[in-house]
C-alpha cells in the first residue's frame, strides 16, 4: 500500500509558505494542502478501502500531517499578517510638519470668552446677569451715580451724547445697570452686568470709542468692606490663578465710598491695576429709592484690560478690526 511521504509534503508546504507574498495566498495554500482536492483529502478517500489496522494507522498519519500543516499555516498567517500591517504602516509615512488644515473650527470673540469666564466665576458664587440699555439717560449715567452736573466726566469731550440738551447719551460705564436694577428690584441684590460702554475717543492703539466692562453689585444685610475684599480676591484668583497676589489701594469714584483700586502682582514683580471697587455710596441708594441704611459693594472691571493683560495684547484696536489673523489666535 503506497503511502504518501508526509515529510515531503510538509517540506513542500513550508517551501510554499516561504514564497507567500500576500495574505490571500494563505487561503490558496489552505485549499491546496487541506481542501477538498488536496493530496491529504485524496489519501483520506482511500482509507475506506483499507484494513482496519492500516486505516487506523494511516488515518492517524494523515490526521497528524493535516494538524501540523493547519497549525503551521495559522501561525504563519498570523505572523505574516502582523508583519504585513506593520510594514504597511511603516510605509505610510506622512510629513506631519505640514499644516494642511489651517485652523479647525471657529471661535468666540476673545472679548466674549473673557466676559463669559467672568460671568461664570461670579455665577458660581450666586450672582446673576443683569443688563441695561446702552443708550442711556444722563441721569442714570451721572446724576444717580453721584456725579454732579459740573463734573469733568460730563464734558462733551469725554462723553458721547445723543441730543443737544445732553439728556441722553451712550453710557460711559456699566454702573448704569446698578441704578436700573435697583430701581426695579428690592434688595438683596447680587448681579454682574457685562456690556458695551462708550467714550469720545478715536480708535487707536490705546483708545477705543467702544469697549466693554463688567459691573458687579451686591446689596445685602451686613455686607462689609471685608466681603468686598474677599469677593474680589476670589475673582482675581479664579481668573488669573491661585498664585496671583492682590492689593487694594484707596481710590476715588463718585458712587462708592470707601473706594479702592485692585492691583495684581504680575510676572517680574510689576503690579497692574485691574479693577475699581468700593462700598456703594449712600447717595446712590437714596437716588434709586433704597433705604438709606442699605449696604453693599460694587465693582467694575474692563474686559479689554483683562484680555490685554492675560494675552499680552498691546493694541486695543485689534479687538474691533476683526482680522481673522487676530481672532483665530484665541
Amino acid at each position: 500500500m503506497p503511502e504518501v511521504n508526509t515529510e515531503k509534503i510538509f517540506a513542500s508546504f513550508l517551501l510554499s509558505v516561504e514564497q507567500v507574498t500576500s495574505i490571500d495566498e494563505f487561503n490558496d495554500l489552505e485549499k491546496e494542502y487541506l481542501g477538498k482536492n488536496s493530496l491529504i483529502s485524496e489519501e483520506r478517500k482511500k482509507l475506506s478501502s483499507m484494513s482496519e489496522i492500516s486505516r487506523k494507522k494511516y488515518g492517524k498519519v494523515l490526521q497528524e500531517l493535516s494538524t501540523q500543516i493547519s497549525e503551521r499555516l495559522n501561525q504563519e498567517r498570523l505572523s505574516f499578517q502582523s508583519k504585513f500591517f506593520k510594514e504597511k504602516e511603516l510605509n505610510d509615512n506622512k510629513d506631519i510638519t505640514i499644516n494642511w488644515y489651517k485652523d479647525l473650527g471657529s471661535r468666540e470673540h476673545v472679548l466674549t470668552s473673557v466676559m463669559n469666564e467672568v460671568v461664570d466665576i461670579f455665577s458660581a458664587i450666586g450672582y446673576t446677569v443683569a443688563t441695561g440699555p446702552e443708550a442711556e439717560t444722563s441721569w442714570h449715567n451721572f446724576d444717580a451715580l453721584n456725579t454732579p452736573d459740573w463734573h469733568p466726566a460730563r464734558y462733551e469731550s469725554d462723553t458721547l451724547y445723543l441730543d443737544e440738551n445732553l439728556e441722553q447719551l451712550l453710557r460711559t460705564q456699566t454702573s448704569t445697570v446698578q441704578v436700573r436694577h435697583m430701581q426695579n428690584n428690592k434688595p438683596p441684590v447680587y448681579i454682574v452686568a457685562p456690556g458695551r460702554v462708550y467714550r469720545s475717543d478715536q480708535l487707536d492703539a490705546t483708545h477705543s470709542p467702544v469697549f466693554h466692562q463688567i459691573e458687579g453689585l451686591a446689596v445685602d444685610e451686613n455686607l462689609t468692606f471685608s466681603d468686598l475684599k474677599g469677593t474680589l480676591e476670589y475673582f482675581v484668583q479664579e481668573f488669573f490663578g491661585k498664585e496671583i497676589k492682590t492689593k487694594f489701594i484707596p481710590h476715588f469714584f463718585p458712587f462708592t465710598e470707601p473706594s479702592a483700586e485692585v492691583l495684581v502682582s504680575w510676572k517680574d514683580g510689576e503690579w497692574l491695576e485691574i479693577l475699581g471697587c468700593g462700598m456703594v455710596d449712600p447717595n446712590v441708594f437714596q437716588h434709586v429709592g433704597y433705604d438709606k441704611n442699605s449696604q453693599g459693594f460694587a465693582f467694575g472691571v474692563g474686559v479689554e484690560r483683562l484680555a490685554m493683560i492675560r494675552y499680552k495684547i498691546d493694541h486695543i484696536k485689534n479687538f474691533y478690526e476683526n482680522d481673522l489673523r487676530f481672532l483665530r489666535q484665541f
Binding site: 451724547y161 478715536q202 470709542p209 471685608s226 489701594i249 484707596p250 470707601p258 449696604q295 481672532l327
Partner: protein
C-alpha cells in the same frame, strides 16, 4: 504730582525712612505711584570754579578765554557763553569728567588754545533748561568744592496720582499731612516773621460776588527780576516746572509747597482798586500768552477799576505782566469758586497748575499764609520792602459739624477701631473732632472738601487703617448658577454657530447713514450729537452692514473664512420696550455666510452652499420654526424669510440682493440673517420631543414624481409623514430636477415599523398607498421606473 524727597523733608522728617517704606505709605494712602526714580547725578570731577580773568581768544571771535580758579589749580578754559564776568562762581567740568548724556570732557585744543575742561550751563549738567548760558552759583561757595556737595546729590522722586477729591494733596504740605499720620511724625509748619516797611498804595478787595470768598494781596518795592535761588530752581525743575525768573519761580514754588496759587502784577501798571467780578458777555482780556480771550458772564475777572486785567485763577493779563524792568509788585493770593474756575479753564482750554488746584478746591483759609511764605522766600534772596498784607474775606465758607455714630464704622467696614486709633488719626490729620459717648463729632478742616458726611470719615479711617490690613470674607449670593435667560440663550446660540464654523466678531456700534438705510430705509435712526467721526455718526439699526464689512475686509486681507456672527445691540429712535426713557434697543444675533465656503483642508476645493444651508442652520439654532417669505430691503426678491416661533417673529434671513452683491463687488452670493435674542426662551429652545427608536429593520424606496413648477416640495414630505405616522420615518427630497417646463422631484423614504418586520408584500402595499394618495391629492404623476 511729582514729589521730591528732599523737598518733602522740609515738612516732615523722612530722611531716615527708606524709599520703599515711603512708596508703600504713599500707595496705601491712595496716591497711586505712576513712576519713581532714584536721582543720583553722577558728578565726578565737576567742581566749583571762580573766574579770575577773561580775555579774548586770539583766533576766534565767538569765544573767550578764562583763567579759572578750581581750588587746587588755576586753569585756562575756553568758553562760548557771555553771561558772566570776572569774579563769577561757576561749575567747571575738569579734564577727564563726564557731563549730560555721558559726554566726556577732556583737555582740548580750541583753535590754538588748550582748554582745560569746560564751564557748564545748567542744561549741560542735566539740571534744567536754561536760556541764559552758564550756571552762576552763589558767590560764597569756595573754588574747588565738589559740585555734588552743593547739589542734593542723592534724592528720590515719586510721580503720584492725586484723586480729584483730594485737591488738598496737590502740595508738599498736603502730602506731608497724610504721611504724618502714616509714620506718626509731626509736621513742621514753616513760621513766618515779617517786618512790613511800606504802606499800601492800592486798595484790593474780593468784590461783591460769592465766587471770590477771599482776596489777599501784598505790595513789594525795590524788587529786581533775576534768577531764583539754586535750590528753588533745582526743586522746580524736578517737579517739571519751567524755570523763568525769581518772581514766577517763587509763585510756582509756593503753589507746590503750600497749595496756594499766587499771581504777580507789575504794581506800576495798576491804577485803581483791584477787585473781582464776573465778566460781561463779550468782554475781552488779553492773557499772558498774547491771546485775546472773549469772555462770558460765567467767567471771573480781576479788575483794575472796572477794567479786566486777568482771568481769575486761570491766567494773568498781558498788560499788567511782570517784565525785566519791573521794580514794584502786587502779589495776589485769592480763593475762587471751584466750579467757576473749572468752567472757564475747560471752556478756554487753559489748564494750568493754578486752575487745577482752584477747581479741585484750595484751602479757604490759607491765603494769608501763602503771601507770608512768598515774602519769606523772596526776602531771603533780595533786599525788598513790602507792605502789610491785605486780606479781604467774606467768610462765607464754613464746614459744619458732623456726627458719626461709632457703630456705623463696624457696620460698614466689618472691623472695630480703637478709640486711640481714632483720636490719633483725627489729630494727625488736623480734623477738629472728638469722641462723645458712642459718637464722633467732627468738623472738616478748611482744606478738605471730602469730609462732610459720616461715611466720609469712615473712609478716612479705613484708609489710614490700611486697606490691606482688612480681613477677607467671601459672601455667597442668592442665585445658584443662574445666569438668566438672556445670557444662557446667548451662550446656547453661540455654541451652535461655532460648531458650524461661524467666527464671532465684535464691531463698533457706529456706522454711516448709508449702512442703516440700505437695510432699514424707514429713517428712525439714532444719531450721536457730538460724534468723533462725523461721517460715522449713526448708531447702527442692523448688524448686517458690519457683517458685510468684516466679510469684505477679511477677503481683502487674504483671510479665508466666510462665516461670521455678532451679537450686539441695534438702535432705533422709537421708545424702548423695557425702558421708556431711552431709544429702542434690541440685542440681535446677526450672521453672514457665503455660497462659497472654504474647506479647512487647504488641499481641497471649496464647498458650495446655498439658501438651503442657511435654512438648515436656522432649524439648528431655533427648533420648531415656521418660515414665511417677506420682501426686505437689501434682500433677494425670493430668498428672504421671516422666522416665526410660536406665531411670533424671532428673526429673518435670506440672500443679499444681487444688486447689492454687485455694488459691494462681492464675487459669491451672500446669505445673511438676524435673530432677536431677547425673544427666545432657553427652555423652549431645549424643548425636544424624543422619538423612540424602532427595533425592526427599515425598508427604503425612492419615488420620482412629475410636479408643476411652482409646487412646494415640503407638501409631499408632510403628506408621507402623515400616511406613515405610526412609523419611524426619514423622508427626504433627494432630487429636484427642472428642465424647461417639466420638473421632477425625487423622494427617498426610509421607514420602520415599531411592531414588525415588513415582508415584500407589505412593502409593496405601502408604496402603492403612498403613490396613490400623492397622485390623487396633489394631481401629480408617479414616474415609471421607480423601484425599492
Amino acid at each position: 504730582m511729582k514729589v521730591l524727597k528732599s523737598w518733602l523733608n522740609d515738612w516732615i522728617d523722612i530722611s531716615e525712612i527708606s524709599n520703599e517704606d515711603i512708596s508703600e505709605g504713599l500707595e496705601s494712602l491712595g496716591f497711586e505711584i505712576e513712576e519713581q526714580s532714584d536721582l543720583k547725578p553722577n558728578y565726578s570731577n565737576i567742581v566749583v570754579g571762580k573766574v579770575l580773568e577773561i580775555y579774548p581768544h586770539p583766533n576766534a571771535d565767538k569765544v573767550r578765554v578764562t583763567k579759572t580758579d578750581v581750588g587746587s589749580k588755576t586753569y585756562e578754559i575756553v568758553c562760548g557763553a557771555w553771561n558772566f564776568d570776572v569774579g563769577a562762581v561757576v561749575p567747571v567740568a575738569l579734564p577727564n569728567s563726564e557731563i549730560k548724556d555721558g559726554f566726556k570732557i577732556d583737555k582740548r585744543d580750541i583753535r590754538g588754545v588748550e582748554s582745560n575742561g569746560m564751564i557748564c550751563s545748567a542744561s549741560e549738567l542735566d539740571l534744567w533748561d536754561d536760556h541764559e548760558g552758564i550756571l552762576i552759583l552763589d558767590d560764597n561757595i569756595l573754588p574747588g568744592t565738589d559740585f555734588s556737595s552743593i547739589y542734593a546729590s542723592s534724592d528720590y522722586l515719586w510721580d503720584i496720582g492725586i484723586t480729584p477729591n483730594r485737591g488738598d494733596c496737590m502740595s508738599y504740605l498736603g502730602i506731608a499731612r497724610e504721611l504724618s499720620n502714616y509714620f506718626d511724625k509731626k509736621i513742621n509748619i514753616k513760621k513766618s516773621k515779617l517786618n512790613p516797611s511800606i504802606t499800601n498804595i492800592l486798595n484790593t478787595n474780593s468784590g461783591k460776588i460769592k465766587e471770590c470768598d477771599s482776596y489777599g494781596s501784598v505790595e513789594i518795592e525795590n524788587f529786581k527780576v533775576t534768577d531764583s535761588s539754586f535750590l528753588i530752581r533745582y526743586r522746580l525743575s524736578n517737579v517739571g516746572t519751567r524755570i523763568i525768573n525769581n518772581v514766577v519761580d517763587i509763585t510756582n514754588y509756593i503753589l507746590y509747597d503750600v497749595g496756594q496759587p499766587l499771581h504777580a502784577f507789575d504794581r506800576d501798571k495798576l491804577f485803581n482798586t483791584v477787585s473781582v467780578r464776573k465778566a460781561k458777555n463779550n468782554e475781552t482780556v488779553t492773557t499772558l500768552d498774547s491771546q485775546k480771550r472773549k469772555l462770558t458772564n460765567d467767567d471771573l475777572v480781576i479788575t483794575d477799576g472796572d477794567k479786566p486785567i486777568a482771568l481769575a485763577g486761570v491766567m494773568g493779563g498781558l498788560e499788567t505782566e511782570v517784565t525785566d524792568s519791573t521794580v514794584n509788585l502786587l502779589i495776589e493770593s485769592a480763593y475762587f469758586d471751584k466750579v467757576s474756575i473749572m468752567k472757564t479753564s475747560r471752556k478756554l482750554g487753559l489748564i494750568s497748575d493754578a486752575s487745577i488746584r482752584f477747581e479741585r478746591g484750595i484751602d479757604f483759609n490759607i491765603q494769608k499764609y501763602g503771601l507770608e511764605q512768598f515774602l519769606m522766600t523772596l526776602k531771603d534772596s533780595q533786599d525788598i520792602k513790602y507792605s502789610e498784607l491785605s486780606i479781604d474775606t467774606k467768610n462765607n465758607i464754613k464746614n459744619e459739624k458732623v456726627t458719626l455714630e461709632k457703630d456705623e464704622i463696624k457696620k460698614l467696614l466689618g472691623i472695630e477701631l480703637k478709640d486711640s486709633f481714632i483720636k490719633k488719626t483725627l489729630k494727625n490729620l488736623m480734623i477738629d473732632g472728638e469722641i462723645k459717648n458712642d459718637n464722633i463729632e467732627f468738623t472738616a478742616p478748611s482744606w478738605r472738601y471730602d469730609l462732610d458726611r459720616p461715611v466720609d470719615l469712615i473712609e478716612e479711617f479705613a484708609k489710614h487703617h490700611g486697606f490691606n490690613n482688612f480681613s477677607s470674607n467671601l459672601p455667597q449670593g442668592l442665585y445658584k448658577n443662574e445666569k438668566g435667560n438672556f445670557w444662557k440663550v446667548k451662550e446656547y446660540l453661540t455654541k451652535i454657530l461655532i460648531s458650524n464654523n461661524f467666527q464671532e466678531i465684535q464691531t463698533l456700534s457706529f456706522v454711516n447713514k448709508e449702512m442703516n438705510t440700505v437695510f432699514n430705509p424707514e429713517k428712525k435712526y439714532v444719531t450721536v450729537f457730538n460724534a468723533i467721526d462725523k461721517s460715522n455718526n449713526y448708531l447702527r439699526s442692523n448688524l448686517m452692514s458690519s457683517l458685510i464689512d468684516t466679510y469684505i475686509f477679511n477677503l481683502q486681507q487674504n483671510n479665508i473664512l466666510n462665516s461670521y456672527f455678532e451679537i450686539n445691540t441695534v438702535f432705533n429712535s422709537s421708545p424702548d420696550n423695557t425702558f421708556n426713557d431711552v431709544p429702542n434697543q434690541n440685542v440681535v444675533l446677526g450672521f453672514i455666510t457665503s455660497a462659497n465656503l472654504t474647506t479647512q483642508d487647504i488641499r481641497k476645493s471649496d464647498q458650495n452652499i446655498d439658501i438651503y444651508y442657511v435654512k438648515s442652520l436656522i432649524n439648528q439654532l431655533i427648533n420648531d420654526t415656521q418660515l414665511e417669505p417677506i420682501i426686505k430691503p437689501g434682500f433677494h426678491q425670493n430668498y428672504s424669510f421671516s422666522i416665526f416661533k410660536n406665531n411670533e417673529i424671532v428673526g429673518h434671513f435670506g440672500q443679499l440682493s444681487t444688486e447689492l452683491q454687485n455694488n459691494f463687488e462681492i464675487e459669491n452670493e451672500v446669505f445673511l440673517g438676524e435673530i432677536y435674542v431677547n425673544k427666545l426662551n432657553l427652555n423652549e429652545l431645549k424643548l425636544i420631543n424624543y422619538k423612540p427608536l424602532s427595533q425592526y429593520p427599515f425598508i427604503k424606496f425612492d419615488l420620482s414624481f412629475s410636479v408643476p413648477l411652482e409646487f412646494s416640495a415640503h407638501l409631499i414630505v408632510e403628506e408621507i409623514n402623515k400616511l406613515l405616522s405610526k412609523n419611524e420615518n426619514e423622508i427626504e427630497i433627494f432630487d429636484d430636477f427642472q428642465h424647461e417646463n417639466s420638473r421632477n422631484l425625487g423622494i427617498r423614504i426610509v421607514t420602520r415599523s415599531y411592531e414588525k418586520t415588513y415582508d415584500d408584500n407589505q412593502t409593496r402595499q405601502i408604496l402603492m398607498k403612498i403613490s396613490d394618495s400623492l397622485e390623487t391629492k396633489f394631481k401629480i404623476t408617479l414616474n415609471s421606473g421607480n423601484n425599492d
